[in-house]
């Protein structure tokens, strides 16, 4: 059972790395003009201080030169769309980690907690998808300023998404570290650790190569 989970994890983790690579490259093209041209990241949209900041940031893209604005918009929309592929990979990975942890824990409360934490990743997924749809609708030359309530819902959505995902990932990784240090792991699972390490090395090298090949021409 556990070995099956690990093979699935290798798959979702690999997909997560590939989509991360694509989104990182897209993110390098993000620019806005708020008086001066500056870089931004998707996190600036996710954790904006207020609704006006989201609106100003998007409006600023349209203030770039036509060609640059087109590139940034295509990169931004592209990243939000690729994110739909990233979501099953990342929340799937955390789901599997929580399931592994739940399966290995003997005590009842821990087992239950990680079981529910695994399924709670679905909430994060829904929140993430909702956020992307919201942002996609906002990308236009004159985006509507969100109401105070609208922005509060958006912010809560962000915290729920990140909170559940981080709690699942960090909680289960802490337990897995414990099992590793105490030697409570199956020798078979070592082959999966090797695969995951290979994926990480590939991700690192591919990132370096892509960075060299795709120097954004935008200022």
């Amino acid at each position: 059972m556990v070995i099956d989970i690990w093979s699935w994890f290798c798959l979702t983790f690999g997909l997560m790395l590939v989509t991360t690579l694509i989104m990182t490259e897209q993110g390098k093209r993000f620019r806005t003009n708020d008086g001066t041209i500056r870089k931004f990241s998707i996190l600036d949209l996710e954790f904006a201080a207020n609704g006006k900041e989201i609106v100003n940031l998007i409006k600023g893209i349209y203030k770039l030169s036509k060609i640059d604005a087109k590139r940034v918009l295509s990169a931004l929309k592209g990243q939000l769309l690729v994110d739909f592929l990233f979501m099953p990979a990342v929340y799937g990975s955390i789901f599997l980690l929580c399931r592994v942890t739940s399966a290995k824990l003997v005590s009842h409360p821990g087992k239950e907690a990680f079981y529910w934490l695994a399924w709670a990743q679905g909430i994060s997924w829904v929140c993430d998808a909702g956020e992307n749809i919201y942002l996609l609708t906002k990308i236009k030359p004159e985006p509507v300023l969100p109401s105070r309530t609208g922005f509060t819902i958006y912010t809560v959505n962000e915290w729920v998404k990140w909170g559940i995902a981080c709690l699942g990932a960090i909680g289960s990784l802490s337990c897995i570290l414990y099992f590793w240090l105490t030697g409570e792991f199956s020798a078979h699972s070592l082959s999966y650790a090797a695969i995951l390490t290979g994926e990480l090395i590939f991700f690192f090298l591919a990132g370096k190569v892509l960075a060299k090949l795709n120097k954004p021409s935008i200022l």
């Binding site: 008086g35 001066t36 500056r38 870089k39 931004f40 996190l43 954790f47 201080a49 207020n50 006006k52 609106v55 100003n56 824990l105 005590s107 821990g110 981080c166 709690l167 960090i170 909680g171 990784l173 802490s174 337990c175 570290l177 414990y178 240090l181 105490t182």
Partner: protein, 492 residues
């Protein structure tokens, strides 16, 4: 600039007005001070402070107002008393907070009208904390640092606690991990502590990432914590409420000569070349110059594009306290056109004007720009140049034990010596102008305290009013004229 929605009274919709005009003008100290002044001049004879007056009995002076953050409330108290004593203003100039009061005095009603009540009304409708319009966390930190004197030590204590908890969790992890081999019942506790450590590290990591993102925002915003958009929108609204929609409108209003202006008999000069205008001082960092707006606006825009920038921007540029507010930029200067090049060369000897200018608070170059009123061609003064000085020097700051200064104290002294000497040098060389300067003592107020209580605002207003009364009682126009004349003769 992003627009903040303000109602017709230039207030944020839904904001409550906690103060009324009479909360300032009706203060006992203010009323007593005016009564005392009237009594003083009834006994001493009529107040004569200028040779220029109008048929309504108003006397005219030039006025320069010093910058000083929220201490600007005291400036309003000072000008309120001057106006109540029928003093009106021809040339107006100011830096930073002084520029704000200057701008309102320039745009509200006409030169011969009293404007203080409208200015007080504007202040009553302004929640000063709205001016701190940066990230909510930055706003919270600024508030805590300014209103809690021991906040720094509180932060230190919290940081120690964070490190302490981390150390405890690490020690607990290692200890329990070792013990569980011999005491299997500790396995559950060990797992729990491992999870707790992971979550704790996550929280600390999130906090660090958040701090990093705030620092990145600071870098992206040109090292300014607050965008200053609210202030710009508020002042723009105030100007538009008074029919000033463009630089042309501002100039027209600021240069309007009051009707029935006369020169006191005996003064040999004439009124023909008497200048009437308004000036806001700001510091331009690309070319490293002191800019006087609107006079030098032609350095940044061609006459055909003159109204591209709203005059509220001049004051916004003047009050951009470095780091506290974002710098103000003027983009797309037609620096390749001959006219712009000529203007720069004529004004600053600059052959290569910039395409973009970046402004910070005028106070870093000239916080008290009384020098701009000095007219070397005049032998005999017609109007005095009045100045309002905001003095928030605290006793510990005047500590003369130079070897006892901390590094921030030393750096502060260094910076202040450089930034104040430009104005000081002029005042030393033209001591007569010092006679027109009244000083408002505000040692217990913090110039960055945007969280002033109602009582603090009133107290500042009173200080301004009392300082104005004290100044008027001692100002001797005849002595001023004589000294100014003698000085001119000595130079000649």
């Amino acid at each position: 600039m992003s627009a903040t929605s303000l109602d017709k009274d230039c207030k944020k919709p839904g904001s409550e007005e906690t103060l009324k005009v009479t909360d300032f003008t009706g203060l006992k100290e203010v009323k007593d001070c005016l009564a005392d002044l009237e009594e003083h001049f009834r006994e001493k004879g009529p107040m004569v402070i200028s040779d220029v007056f109008d048929d309504e009995g108003n006397q005219y002076v030039n006025l320069v107002q010093k910058g000083g953050g929220v201490l600007g409330v005291a400036l309003v108290g000072y000008t309120y008393v001057l106006e109540a004593m029928k003093i009106r203003f021809l040339r107006l100039a100011g830096t930073s907070a002084g520029a704000i009061n200057t701008a309102l005095m320039a745009v509200i009603k006409q030169r011969k009208d009293e404007k203080s009540e409208e200015i007080i009304q504007a202040i009553c409708g302004l929640d000063f904390f709205e001016l701190v319009d940066g990230h909510p966390v930055a706003r919270w930190l600024i508030k805590k640092f300014i209103t809690h004197t021991d906040f720094e030590s509180q932060v230190k204590r919290v940081m120690l606690l964070v490190v302490g908890i981390l150390a405890f969790l690490m020690v607990a992890d290692i200890t329990l991990l070792g013990l569980r081999t011999h005491y299997p019942f500790l396995s559950t506790a060990t797992k729990a502590i491992f999870i707790l450590t992971g979550i704790y590290l996550l929280l600390v990591g999130a906090l660090l990432a958040f701090i990093a993102s705030l620092l990145k925002r600071l870098k992206n915003s040109g090292f300014g914590i607050n965008p200053g958009d609210f202030f710009y929108d508020w002042l723009k609204c105030q100007m538009e409420k008074n029919d000033v929609h463009s630089v042309d409108d501002l100039n027209k209003k600021a240069k309007q000569r009051p009707a029935g202006l006369r020169l006191r008999p005996g003064n040999p000069e004439s009124l023909d070349d008497l200048p009437i205008d308004v000036t806001f001082i700001t510091s331009e960092l690309v070319t490293q110059n002191k800019i006087e707006f609107p006079l030098m606006y032609e350095l940044f825009r061609l006459p055909t594009d003159k109204n591209q920038i709203h005059p509220a921007a001049f004051v916004r540029a003047s009050m951009s306290i470095p780091v506290f507010f974002e710098s103000y930029y003027i983009h797309d200067i037609q620096c390749q056109t001959q006219q712009i090049k000529d203007n720069w060369f004529k004004t600053f000897g600059e052959k290569d004007p910039p395409s973009k200018a970046r402004f910070v608070d005028g106070g870093i170059l000239s916080n008290f720009p009384i020098n701009i009123f000095f007219n070397k061609n005049v032998d005999y003064p017609r109007v005095p140049s009045f100045g309002i000085d905001l003095d928030d020097t605290r006793k510990e700051e005047t500590e003369r034990d130079a070897s006892a200064w901390s590094f921030p104290g030393f750096a502060g002294r260094l910076f202040n010596t450089v930034r104040f000497y430009y104005d000081k040098d002029f005042q030393i060389k033209n001591r007569v102008l010092q006679k027109g300067v009244g000083s408002i003592k505000l040692p217990e107020f913090n110039w960055l305290n945007f969280f002033l209580t109602k009582e603090e605002k009133q107290q500042m207003f009173i200080r301004g009013a009392l300082a104005a009364a004290e100044f008027l009682k001692h100002f001797d126009w005849e002595a001023f004229k004589k000294e100014r004349y003698d000085m001119k003769q000595a130079i000649s």
